[in-house]
Subunit: 218 residues, 2 copies
Amino acid sequence: MLSLTEENYLKAVYHLSDGGTRSVLTNELAEAMQNKAASVTDMVKKLSVKELILYERYYGVKITLKGKLRALEIIRKHRLWETFLVEKLGFNWDEVHEVAEQLEHIQSPRLIDKLDEYLGFPTADPHGDPIPDQNGKLKSLPQVALDQLKPGSKGMICSVNSNDPDLLKYLDKIGARPGKKIEVLNRESFDESVEVLIEKKKLFISKEVSKNILLSVK
Amino acid sequence: MLSLTEENYLKAVYHLSDGGTRSVLTNELAEAMQNKAASVTDMVKKLSVKELILYERYYGVKITLKGKLRALEIIRKHRLWETFLVEKLGFNWDEVHEVAEQLEHIQSPRLIDKLDEYLGFPTADPHGDPIPDQNGKLKSLPQVALDQLKPGSKGMICSVNSNDPDLLKYLDKIGARPGKKIEVLNRESFDESVEVLIEKKKLFISKEVSKNILLSVK
DNA sequence: AATATTTTTTAGGGTGCTCTAAAAAATACT
DNA sequence: AGTATTTTTTAGAGCACCCTAAAAAATATT
């Protein structure tokens, strides 16, 4: 049984390590959790006793298989709740993150499986992020960030790599939602902004923003 | 902003005082919260500073209007979630209490209003208990416990005054669910058990159980 | 390579909620 | 009324999670 705080730390480790690929440093985790480094050191020791992460003094942490599965359970809940909020309750996709952060900690395997069924076993949440199944399996297509694509490329927005409400509102306003087709027209050399075509409308997207838009390309 | 613990204490005070009618003693609250009396004393001091209850040393606590409204918000959330679990997710009415105890603490007025709307603004939860509206108003009909009724009386089960899963399962098994019509046939003098008719079936209900079945009678 | 800087850890402390043991107040008993 | 019992409160302490300040280790600079 993990405390709410432990769950949040574990999730942060998972995300910061890109799903267990990289090691995560103490200060990164402190930044993400909005805590001081000293507090992080305490917590990672706790999680490492529980074998959810591997902790080596001065070298940060790696998530274990056990920890990864536990983190994926939480992410599964988060993304199912987000889907529920948008699909059933009529929330906008840019308004659900905060509430889902609370709902993801509800403890009841039955609830989450029933919710999954009620939603028709969705494989992606409203932001396009894949929803892990009961076993923690992710159905993820390869994704490329918009700032990596050459002019001429076409693809579909499949996820937005941010929870910043302002960014999400902005993307919503310009029509850059998951599921939308997008074509890269041109890249300006002076600021690396990119000109794209979304639903027959031309628009410019800054380098900063384009890094957060993930596409699937054929 | 109340902590999870404060919310639970406040709710207990509301329930134990029958909605603010009676005073609640420290030991009652300790029993209800499964804590020691000393811990209760600490907490009631906190809640009384926040003006949610009136606390007088050695004489227990009374809930204030402010406290009552706050408690009703939590109860509203609890009952709306229970309704959701039964109506939408297909839970049985005897399986929802525990999960609703968690869900009731989710902080998001928008969520709860949307949920209310999604459920069609229900006025009673699956146990027949009234759901407070946004202003804390309860739409409650006068209710009588089954053990108070004379043979010959007819009524409808409108709520079951217990969260004991075993009792709820038992009532579910014998068909004594909220909404069911019921007629009192006879009362046995030796053990005060009562013979009733539910959906054309005769059955005996013990004194203990009959105290927890609340009816509305014409 | 020695020194300066940055990162991380340790040490010690604070708050929220819980406990036990002892003291104080209220209540019950003779 | 005076004593015994029950209830409640106070005092002091523990655990989870957070902090600051100082020490230790790693890294960067000259």
